[in-house]
Structure formats: C-alpha cells, structure tokens
Symmetry: C2
Subunit: 704 residues, 2 copies
C-alpha cells in the first residue's frame, strides 16, 4: 500500500541477522593487503564489493562502477624520501627510517607505501632545524617573537592543532623552506614511547610508526573543482592549485623525531604547552646544540621525491530500488581506499557496510522486504587523497541528488575504540539516530543498557528542549559526508564507536594511517569479537531502515531551532556590543529564528494530526516529507562563501573562528575587528537571515 | 480524486467568460493616471488590485502585499533636465523641450514624469556634439577610425542596437563626457515624422515624444544583488554599482534631435546604415557646421539633475490554493508600475491578468473549480527600474520557489499590436502554449482560424521534429520572467499579441515609455474593441489552467532536445575546427545531447504508458511530474558565470556572441580568438556538458 509504515518486526529481524563474526571475516578480507587508492589492492576490493552486491542470494538490485580520472600524489618507489642531518663537510650524520619496522609481518608487505606527505612538492631543501610546535600561524609568530629568524630553516612540527597542509603553508610564509611532521607520543600514546609499551604489546603506536596523509586544504579532485573528473573535463593548471604545501614536507616517526628534537639548541626552552613526551626538554633551535649528537653547524635536509599523476579511481555503487517512492534516495557510504592495510580506516566501516547490505539484500531477495524509498550504497574511491570519489560523485549527479536525497549516512572508521557510540550530524539527524540508538543494546544480555543510555553516559549535554541527552557532534569535513552536506545541503550524519575519554587522551587511535593499522591490531586491541562493529552495524542499519521505510520521514526539523538559538546566543553575547556600535542589529536574526521555530512547531503539529488519520492521503504524506527532506537545502547559498570551495551551507560551513556560531558571521566579525570592514559583517548577517527565513518558509504551510 | 485530470468543459467555461469589455474597463481604470513605481498613482493601483483579489464573489483565496525598500532614481521636479546648445559667449542658442506636448490632455497631467534616464548621474557636461549612431562599441570605434577625437565630446545616439546604459558606458570609455539619446523616426515610425502623420492622427510617435527608461545593465535592486531589499539587508555602497551610466545622459524627442543632428558638421557624412529619417543627411560632427543654426564654436550641454533614493515598493500577491497538490505553484505575473500612464506597458497585461483572475476567482467562489495545484498571481512593483519587484520576490523566496514552481507565465505588454500571437519561453513551454493556442480562436466566428494557425502564418520555423510550426522565441531579460528563468531555473514564458511585420518595422509600438501611451491610444490604435486582449487572456489563461490542472504536466521535455541539437549544430559548424586545433573535442557534448534525447524519449514513453492506466497511482504521477517540473533546474549552475548577476541557466544565459548556441561556450570562444585563453573555452564546454548530463539524469528512470 502507498501508506504502509515502517514495520518494527522487520527492524528486529534485521538487527538479529547482523553477525559479528561475518563483520570480522569481512574485515579480514578487506584488510589482508594494502589497498591505497587506484593500486592493485584497491582494484581487488572493487571486485570484491561488486561481487558481494551482485550475489544472487544476498546482493542488491544492482551494482555498478563509476570511474573518475583523478589527480594523485605518490612517493617515488626508487628514491625513498628521507629527513637527514647533514654535517658541515657534507656527510650524513643521520637519516630517518624509510618506513615502519616489521613487527607483525604485515609491515613487510611489498605494497606498503612508504610514509610521505601526499601533494607535497619534490625537493631537497636544507637548513637549520627549528621546533615549531603544531605549525599554526601563532606557533611561527611565537618563534619570531623569540628572535628566531625562520628564513631558510627547516621546521619540525607535530601532528594536531592545524591541518596537515597548513603546517607547511604557514611555515612558508615565514621563510621556512622545508617541513618535517611527526606524531608526538604525548598526543597519540598517552605518553607511552618505548617499543615494549607499544604495538604489538598494546594499541599504542610503535616508535617507527608514521602517519601518512593527504596534505591538502580543499577536498575533491584538485584539478576539477565543481566538475566531475571525467575524460571530457577541463582541468585547472597545476600551478593554480591552492591549499597544498608550497615546500617539501615529510612525515617521520617519533623515534626519529626524538633524535632531531632532543638535540636542538636554543634558549629559552619551548614553553610548557609545546613540550611533548619524547623524553627530553624541547628546545626551539635554530640548529643543534653543540654538546649533542650533531655539531651546531649541521643542517637538516628534507628529501622528497613525490610525483603527481592522474589515475582512474572507482566508486562502487549499489542500489535497492524503492517500491513506493523510488525517486527518494537514502544514501549510505564509506571509502574503500586505505593508506596501508587500513583495517580500521576505512575497512572497519566497509566491513560494517557489507554486513548491512548483506542482511538487507537477503531480505530483499527473499521477498520479505521492499523498502519504500531507494537505498544507494557507495564505496568511494580515493578518500584518503581528499574525499575525491564522493566529491566527484556529487559533482556528476548534483541535480538529482539535491532533488531526491533524503539523507546521507557515513560510516568510515566504524570503531575507533569499543566504549560508546559517537555520532555527528546536522540537527534533523538527531531524532532518527536517537530512535535507533534507543533500540539497540550494547550487549547481548536483556539487561544491558541501550546504545543510547551508554552514549549519554559518555557524551551528554543539557538541551533546552529535552534536558540531558547524548551530544550529537557537528560535521566538519573529515570524511565523505563533506560534499553531501556542504556542497549539496543533504542532511548527513557520521556514525562510529569510540573511546572512553577517561581512559585515553589519544588524538586518534594510535595506528591511524600507519602500517600498524592491520586486522591483527583491530582484532586484538580495538574490538575483540567485533561486538562494537556489530553494534555500529545495527545502529547505522536501523537508521537506514527508518529513513528508507518510515511513512513520515523521521527527521525532526524543530531540532534545528535549538541549534539556531544556541548559535544566536553566542552571537549576541560576543558580537552584539560591537555590532550596535556599527549600527548593525541582531534583532532581524532573532526574528528569523523565532519564525523558524514557530514554523517547525506548526509543521510538527500538522504531522501529528496526519499520523492520527486512519488513511492519510499519499500525496499529503509526500508533501510533508518533501518539506522535511528539502529543509536542509534552504540553508544552501552557493554565493555565500565564494572563496571556500564547496562550502555553501550557511549554518554548517567551516570557520576560522573558534566560536560555535554562524560561521560567516563569526569570521567576518573577527576580520572586521582587524580591518574595520563592518560592511562584510552586515553582509554575512544578511546571508544568515535570508537562509533562515527561507528555511522557515519551507516549513510553513505550503499555500498561504 | 487524487487522479482527476483537467476538465475540458471547465476550460471552455473559462474562455467563454473572458470578456473584452471588462478588459477594456480594467485598462481604463489602470491607466487613468500616471503610476510610476512608488508614486501615489502606483499605491492606488496596489489598493485596486488588492480589492479585486479580495472580492467576495470573484476574488482569490487570499491576497497580500509584499514590500521592499528599493533604490530608485528620479528627475528633480524643480530643476528640469535639458539638452542645450551653448554659444561661445555662454548664451543659450537652443534648449530641448521639458516634456511631451499636450496633445490629448493626458500629457498635461501634473504627475507626468518629465523624460529622464533613470540612474544616470547628475552633472552639466559640455562639449562638441558627435553623432554616434546606436552607441555600440563598434560605433565609437568607427568614429575614432574617422579621425574624430571623442575626448570631451557629447555623443548623440539613437535608441536601439545596444542597451540603454551601454550607450553611455561605451562612450565614456572613449572620453565622451555626456550622452543624448533620441528615438529616430526611421526606427519607430516607419519614417513618419510630421505632427499630422503621428499620434493622435495615427499610432506613430509625435515629434515631442521621448522614451523614458531605466539605464542599467543588471536587473534587480542595484544595492542588494542576491538579497531581498528588506530593512535588515546589507546594501553595497553606491559607488560599487556597475552597469549604469558613468556620465550624465538624457533622452530627447526626435523634433529636438533633428535640430541637433541636422546641424552637425563633419565630413564624410555618416555611412548609410547610420542614416535615419530626421529629414536631413546625418553628419558625424564633431560640432556644428558653420552655415547651420549654430556657430561652429557652439557646444552642447547635457543638464541632468537626477537624484537617487530608496523607496518602498509593493508586490501584490494573489493565491488560489491547490486542492490536491497545494505545494506545486503555477505562477502568473506582470508588473504594475509604468513610466507615465502606461496603458500598453504594463496595463494591457494587468487588465488581462485581472480578467483571468476574475473569471478563475468566480469559478472558485462558486465552487465549480478547485485547481489541482496552487496558482500564484503577482503584480510586481518597480519593473521599469529594472525588474525589481519580481527579482526581490525571487530573492526572498528562492528556496520554496525552486522546490515547488511548475512554471512562470508573464504577460507584460499584452498587446503590442493586434495581428498575431507572439510567445517566448524555454522549450518545455512550447507544448502547453501550442495546446492552448490551438484551442483559442482569433475571432468569434466558428470559421475563424485558431490563434495557432494565425501565429504560424506570421512566425514559423521548420522544426526537425514537427515540420512547420509557430516559432517560439527565446527569453532574454526584457520583463519579469528574468529572475524566474535565469536565477531560479523555473520554466518560464512570455505571451503577447504583436505586429504584422509586413506592415511595420517599428522597433516597438511607437508610444512606448512616452506620455502618449494612454488609454485613448490603446483603444484607438492598438486594439479597438480589446479583442486581441481577450485573445491573449484566453490563451494565457488556458495555459495557466492546463499547468494548474493537468494530471500530468503538459511540459514536453523532449523539445529541449531539439534546441540542444540546434545549438550543437551551430557550435560544431563555427567552432569545431578551432577547437580541434586546441585539442578540445565536441564529441562529449554530442554524447550528452544524445543521452538527453534518449532519456526524454524514454520518459515520454513511460508517460504514455501511465496515461493508459485506468487508475494511475498518485505517487507515480507525482514522480513523473517532479521530473518534468525539475528538469529545468538541472540546467542551473550558480558558478557558471560568476561575473553575470543572476545568470545561472547554462543554456539560456545572456551572451555577447550573436550565435544562437551555448552562451558560455560562444563567448569564451570569441574571447579566445582574441586572447588565446582556450582553457576558458574548455571550461565552459565542461559546464555545458555537465549541465546536460545532469538534465539527462533527471529524465532517466529514477532508480537505475
Ligand atoms: Ca571534481
Ligand atoms: Ca535584491
Ligand atoms: Zn577514513
Ligand atoms: Zn584516513
Ligand atoms: Zn513592461
Ligand atoms: Zn516598460
């Protein structure tokens, strides 16, 4: 029937069929070999996923491969990158390790890519070493304030605090000619730094582990912003790429970093916040102290032999056709490519996706279930190089995705750690995630707490509407949801299991982007038994089924009202005095939010009435659902931030300001405090008001 | 029922009830007084329309007023603008007439605004006069080639050939300090220039008639591009406005122009294409010939006292609520404001709109009819100053208009002349306009030809699909449809009655934008008996009812395929050789068009199948209609032409090139021929391909 609602029995059936062991097997299959984007290992997984989705018993209605010609960056296999100490006489006093030590055999795989900074240019700059903390602008400024001349220096920086590329982009502004990046055991290992305290003896990063990564600030294929990277596509000249390191940059492990940092000269020592856990007092440099391993005249040389090339990257797309509204899409995706074996990142997510698609596919093939709406699964390529596969997909199909997508669910790293759910999303996602989390148990016993309760124990907030509830995080641009929410304005969410923050302060799970992110690591230290994987699969699958099958979409748009009100409170508290001084009133912003909240409440009332109807008209249901689905689109303004690629969501765009408020307004305010451009503040305020007024008009009765 | 289709009997009922006499009475009421935007006359018409749409017997479901604070330009009532000849001794040898001669009493109304060039800056520049033809770039270049130094000159130009503002913008680039614009009797009067051959003795423009107009290149409120001009809205500084005259500019009548031009010095005489019908041989200047009315030392002074101010302008919006799909909007509008009495422009259109809304309102109030979809009528304010009311409306409600609008119908000047229908629109509009035109007769007799047949007699083309059919024109930005089609990508059309081109070559009806555009003029010379008005009302109302009531939207999207193919043929013929030379292939463009055509044919087949179903599912119908409605949106790319305000429709945007092909591609090609930027050509080609591929994907089966 056109008015059939979600069947709770089918939901239960789904959850019961999700098997931890199968997820474990998926993970083993997916992470048995390195599968960096566009390599043979990646191509094998394309075939593995196509096969799964075309399985006659448990496959989907269809599965296809979408290909793009994308701009990538690799180290030269013949000429290893390195960071060296070169003495005055030209001879080499030290050279960094080429790659991770072979601790569990996996690291010896010939397809392990040696550590490098993707998109960093080749070159061999040499200079005195300085320690620049996290490579933030303020870090370099601090060094200059200390009287250090940065011109011609090599900066060593630790991961964290700033984007990867920013460490080099910032440094170059100060005359730095090369950048070394390392992982400080204080940031990643709760201070543990010895071989016996780290993997394979614990989950902590061994001294030789190096975090690889893409060093770029914009996502999507760098040569084709806004266009799908097809054969016919115009590509910008390479020299017009922005947001990548202008100078050679190389990551190293903390064993090597210790040799460099612990021998630095310079007085005074680095301030307390800059100190780490290498086991010595960090000095700033420049250069080495005379009484250390190296002579003071020694310099550091960064040797980078990266090259760039265009390769073919694949997305694998799987479809379950909607039975009632096939033109409504619930999207679920994760990237497939890793840096090395990628057991956790991304294969934990792909293992979960394959289990969800197996169970749903089986229900479809058995004729038990035909979802109301279409479900589209995406296994994205080349995420590690900058969310490329998912971005190109949204560029290729922007019209139909914008018109028809209900929501996008992302599960990348499914399990960072096995303590609690962690979810991010825009406000309308909160209601459906909560509903799912309340229905899933954290363990098999009937008495075990729900995912929701456990989550609330770990991360909660005091909502002005609901009281104490789990805290839904906001979406940045850390995984493939970025183009869905920021470019297309599709309600998006990211779901994972994560840490008990009372037990670790690790910046991320320690093996992240290293050759130690292996099946063995996952099985032994992250999620023995794969029960957290199972919990994530049940939760994300539950969300997916609700979005695909509920008669009325389970997106509570009034939750946007709370977020807007919070943002407004911050804006009023921090900006209002200055704004009044420049004749800019926040009252119209408040009026818009007030209108939005009234409109959302009114819509919720009409939905409640509709639910009470015995036989709601299918068109009345569709009309309400269109309001719910398309609300998020009203916050898009492609002209709001012309300098920020893809960021069009006026409420959720990135910001430089640390304030949790309207991003355009906050950044314009910070700038105006510097340069007096209060007109820009008024302009950004106008953009926010216009967006909220438009959003309100989407929720108001459709013909008034 | 949810699947009720259009009732032909109701269509007939509507057409029978449309009365010519009532349209005549409407026109009399609307044009009895001058009603320039935001004046008292305009405000009275706001009330008149609100009253009509709130009438208990014949009104609509609701009527509201929407207000904007818009940036306008007016002449100083105390200090008349003029064009004067000033002798060497400083005394005045000639001054232009302040306004039109009083020929039919209407011209003596105290509210007649004196001729001026809206947005031209005030000033009193003085210099030697040159004749610059139409003020195109090529015209000024030609003068320079003739050895004329344009620095410090006043240029007199005739209307036509270039946009109003361009005559001054172009001239200023050559050092021209002031511009005079006049209407040449050769362009507007079929050469007739004497008082006894012109109004009130014929429809031709009297010697004192002056075309007023807005001298701007961008539409919408000039201070608030992309934002609704509300109280809260950021406004750009006035000095950042682009596209308006940088130098004082003033329009005059041809009686005064004759005095200036026929006394010009200069050899050789202007070339044949520059000659007009003032009754003398046109010389180029500079300055006056010694043996004429003025001494050669005499200069021309342009005296402009215009001022700019922000006024409140109203749109009046009327609504008939849809009974089945209230969230689908069929929009119908016209501007309300005129330059003077505006009997033809715009009141002929408003008189038609009020008759359509009266008949439909009556059918609704009598309970005879409740349209499937909502109908929204708009009486726009301040169109004459640059389509301001309609543009601000689209800026205020862009989200819901983009999501929900089926089409926009514009009837501005309903009757230019009484010979034939003239329609413009994007390709999907063709089918519904043809259907309506075939159903409406040109006269009362049963034997009289249909509007369609008569139209085909006057304007036809040989379609590769249909053979000889009436020629649907394409939409520029000449009236209030501009922001609907170019900014929001809503299928739009403009409908009118117009000239028999074998009888006149007038650029436009001669009284256009003058004080002679009166009810008397309309009744006596344009449409005695208002039968053409009646025909337009029947045709446009028929289109409106079909769009509002047809079960399946009567928009034939496959007609876009023919247009794309025509554009492709031109591109291939003209560009291909050069493109191949620069390694740019048109093959992917053809592949995209081919895909589009196949997708459109497939959709049409599925629609045909759906029509055969006895009881089509309401959701199946809705899904197909969404494809038809939203196709046009797929051609939007807000990043395609960032320098062209509002133009986002990749296929229909404005272009400088004279070639009827893809505008971005054509202009980039022309530029590349000059500056060698073939990358820009490839980029624009990519944008077109991406848009057509997206459009095709909208028409393809929704879940494949
Ligand atoms: Ca791209
Ligand atoms: Ca505006
Ligand atoms: Zn990942
Ligand atoms: Zn990653
Ligand atoms: Zn008009
Ligand atoms: Zn006009």
């Amino acid at each position: 029937s056109l008015s059939r609602d979600l069947d709770p029995a089918l939901l239960e059936d789904f959850m019961n069929q999700v098997e931890a062991a199968r997820i474990g097997q998926n993970l083993k299959d997916l992470s048995s070999k390195p599968h960096m984007a566009t390599t043979k290992g990646d191509e094998e997984l394309v075939q593995l996923i196509l096969k799964a989705w075309r399985d006659p018993q448990t496959g989907l209605d269809s599965a296809t491969e979408g290909q793009y010609e994308v701009f990538l960056s690799f180290p030269d296999p013949e000429k290893p990158n390195s960071v060296a100490v070169v003495m005055e006489n030209g001879s080499q006093a030290f050279i960094s390790q080429e790659t991770e030590k072979n601790l569990t055999a996996d690291q010896a795989d010939r397809d392990v890519v040696k550590p490098y900074a993707a998109y960093a240019p080749p070159g061999n700059p040499k200079g005195k070493l300085v320690y620049a903390n996290q490579g933030k602008m303020s870090d370099y400024e601090y060094l200059v304030q200390q009287g250090i001349d940065l011109n011609g220096t090599i900066a060593i920086t630790r991961y964290g605090g700033a984007g990867r590329a920013d460490k080099a982009i910032n440094g170059a502004k100060f005359g730095v000619v090369g950048v070394v990046v390392y992982t400080d055991p204080g940031d990643i290992n709760d201070g543990k730094a010895s071989a016996t305290e780290t993997y394979p003896y614990s989950w902590y990063l061994p001294p030789s582990g190096v975090e690889r990564g893409s060093y770029n600030s914009h996502f999507g294929d760098l040569l084709t912003p806004y266009y799908p990277a097809k054969g016919f596509t115009y590509r910008i000249p390479e020299d017009q790429i922005t947001g990548i390191p202008p100078i050679p940059t190389q990551p190293i492990g903390f064993e090597d970093a210790k040799t460099l940092i612990c021998n630095l000269a310079g007085n005074p020592v680095a301030e307390a916040a800059w100190q780490g856990a290498l086991g010595c007092v960090y000095h700033l440099g420049p250069g080495f102290r005379q009484d250390g391993l190296f002579s003071n005249a020694s310099e550091v040389q960064v040797n980078v032999h990266n090259y760039r090339r265009i390769n073919t990257s694949s997305n694998v797309m799987g479809l379950i056709r909607g039975s009632v509204e096939p033109d409504r899409y619930v999207l679920y995706g994760n990237h497939r490519d890793s840096w090395v074996h990628g057991a956790i990142d991304p294969s934990s997510g792909t293992a979960v996706m394959l289990e969800i698609s197996r169970v749903l596919g089986k229900m479809v093939k058995e004729g038990k279930w035909h979802p109301r709406r279409s479900i589209i699964f995406g296994s994205w390529g080349a995420e590690e190089f900058g969310l490329i596969g998912s971005t190109e997909y949204t560029e290729e199909f922007y019209s139909k995705l914008q018109q028809r997508s209900v929501a996008y669910i992302n599960v990348d790293i499914a399990v960072f750690a096995n303590a609690t759910l962690r979810a991010q999303g825009t406000p309308p996602a909160q209601s459906v995630i909560f509903a799912a989390a309340q229905q899933v148990k954290t363990a098999a016993a009937d008495s075990s707490p729900s995912v929701y309760e456990n989550w609330k124990q770990h991360f909660s907030r005091n909502s002005s509407v609901y009281g104490i509830i789990p805290s839904l995080g906001s979406l940045g641009a850390g995984s493939d949801y970025a183009s869905f929410i920021h470019y297309l304005g599709i309600t998006s969410m990211d779901i994972a299991y994560t840490y008990d923050r009372s037990k670790t302060s690790a910046r991320i799970y320690p093996a992240y982007h290293t050759a130690f992110d292996t099946f063995h690591y996952a099985e032994k230290f992250i999620d023995p038994g794969f029960t957290s994987h199972q919990t994530v699969a049940r939760t994300a699958g539950n969300v997916l089924m609700r979005l695909a099958d509920a008669l009325i979409l389970p997106l509570n748009v009034s939750d946007y009202g709370e977020t807007l009100q919070q943002m407004y409170s911050v804006a009023r508290e921090v900006f209002q005095a200055d704004l009044m001084h420049h004749n800019i009133s926040l009252d119209p912003l408040w009026a818009a939010i007030d209108r939005f909240q009234a409109a959302a409440a009114g819509l919720n009332q009409r939905i409640a009435n509709l639910r009470e109807e015995a036989n709601p008209s299918p068109l009345d249901v569709r009309m309400v659902n269109d309001q719910l689905m398309l609300l998020e689109r009203a916050f898009l303004n492609p002209r709001a931030f012309p300098e920020k690629y893809y960021y069009s969501h006026v409420i959720m765009a990135s910001r430089s300001s640390s304030l949790a408020t309207f991003p355009g307004l906050a950044d314009a305010y910070d700038n105006a405090k510097e340069d007096g451009q209060w007109g820009e503040v008024h302009k950004q305020l106008t953009i926010v008001i216009q967006a909220i007024e438009n959003a309100a008009s989407i929720l108001e009765p459709v013909a008034e």
